[in-house]
Symmetry: C2
Subunit: 316 residues, 2 copies
């Protein structure tokens, strides 16, 4: 893959999706004495970055998608992205999710018009069921991270960060990206390391899913077994082969955060920063609040905000 | 008052406060088929715009504030703004709040170092207590809306909107502002109508507090009696005299929204738009969602986000 694939993806999805805002956070900058920018993918339609790869995937195979429909396996955010993109493009979508997926994500996926198939409780069962259903139905299979089309869609975020910050993306800048299967960081790293080779690219994973850390250590993608974390968007138990090739080339480091650090960061973002962010989207802030990344300047990718909140709308 | 007072305020508070973001909302633009920008004062330090007038007020009377301390009456957001500004400037603050103020706002005010005095349950009792305590203690009294210093601090929001949107602020643009005592809309209207005379300025109040609508109808500021609304930031039962003079000159219209419309807008912003906004900050969106303002382009001031949310951070 080359950066031209990302420019092509950008052009392809532009008619359907707006750019997301990049905020310089007064609160975090003051709290941590580092300049912190937030790339707010919570502001993308469906509340996460996943609409980008969903549109790019479908638009690259539109004839087959139209004829056969699409199918995807998802922990909940890719589900909504695919359902939304399919609905906008008049295509039928089927999404395979595990039975322990948050009801919030299942409901929103259904509301967007997808047919939801529930299967078992493990990441592995989900992928097996998806592969089987794809064969049986002939639907176009969209992979959440291990596909060039997906990585290129994800990478459009990197192009937007580059447009916004330009030369600030130098050796004093770290770009922090949540990691599950690795597609998001692979695409962003391809963009930013090509355009700004001196900035640092750092992946952040829950300690309870150190799949990329393990892959980097052993030099190959290995399944790490069942994953359970409050960061329910980051449960891929193995790094994808395609992202891994880019990650080995472009990513400088992987940082692990504990469940407590993720919970604290999520609460901080909601209660203090007034931003609705789900735990998986808050891991980059978890790494900063835990002082695990100490560069002068940081961009944090806030990848999603699909969490159910309860607001007591009563006086007092 | 003149726009030069706003430029002076901007220069005065700049060392302490950052600009807030102005987002073009993909979701609202798509939902309503109007171009909707959100001026996110939820991103101001303390979660509302009130730090602006707090700093401007104190900095204009720094010697007295240092010698005597400050006192203010507030429904909760000005309280936090004053407490924060006072703490940053090493000044003692006392805040008078009613006993039915949200615990969330009382606690945050205390956490910022203010001495909180609770008194009765009415807006009138709060102001009487404040005036009496100001006399007894000799503290500098900061008014939440009926003071030039406050209006000038509020008006810095208008200058930022002008910088960001420039010539887009023409006859096709409506600027929607939440209204309680009128200080916020007075300051913003002074800025924007001076710089862009053809844009429309629209105030939004809860139906349960139509104090400005009543004042505009009768031509004078009159108390409308006890106010109770889920928009707990918008409970001033009478428009201030100083804001009213500017409002009569510069504001085009006032729109009223029901409790149900406010609740719906608040839930929409939190659940769909992934922005933590309190009911008082959501009234502008309530007016739009209820199709009460139909211009091609709109800027909505999202004035605050101090609401207690409960996030169930458990896996499913």
């Amino acid at each position: 893959m080359k950066i031209d694939d990302l420019y092509a993806a950008k052009k392809r999805i532009q008619p359907y999706l707006a750019q997301t805002p990049l905020l310089l956070s007064s609160l975090l900058t003051k709290t941590l004495n580092q300049n912190i920018w937030l790339k707010l993918e919570t502001q993308q339609l469906t509340g996460s970055f996943k609409t980008r790869p969903a549109f790019n995937n479908i638009l690259m195979h539109l004839a087959k998608a139209r004829a056969q429909g699409v199918i995807a396996s998802s922990s909940g955010n890719f589900a909504q992205g695919v359902a939304y993109a399919a609905r906008e493009l008049n295509i039928k979508s089927m999404i395979v999710m595990t039975e322990n997926t948050s009801l919030y994500k299942i409901e929103r996926t259904k509301q967007l018009g997808a047919e939801v198939v529930l299967c078992g409780n493990s990441y592995e069962a989900r992928h097996q069921t998806t592969d089987q259903l794809a064969k049986e139905t002939g639907r176009l299979l969209l992979h959440a991270y291990d596909a060039d089309e997906t990585i290129a869609g994800d990478g459009t975020i990197g192009l937007e960060v580059s447009d916004a910050l330009g030369e600030t993306l130098n050796h004093e800048m770290a770009v922090l990206v949540p990691v599950s299967g690795g597609g998001l960081i692979a695409g962003i790293a391809l963009a930013l390391k090509t355009l700004h080779p001196h900035c640092r690219m750092i992946g952040v994973q829950p300690e309870k899913n150190g799949s990329l850390a393990a892959a980097l250590q052993s030099g190959k993608c290995v399944p790490i077994g069942p994953v359970q974390t409050i960061a329910d968007a980051l449960v891929a138990s193995m790094t994808g082969e395609k992202p891994f090739a880019l990650i080995q080339k472009y990513v400088d480091d992987v940082v692990l955060v504990t469940e407590e650090e993720i919970e604290l960061a999520t609460q901080f973002l909601i209660e203090q920063h007034k931003l609705v962010v789900e735990p998986g989207g808050a891991v980059t802030i978890a790494a900063l609040l835990a002082k695990k990344v100490l560069t002068k300047n940081c961009v944090c990718i806030i990848s999603g905000g699909n969490i159910h909140l309860w607001a007591p709308l009563i006086i007092n």
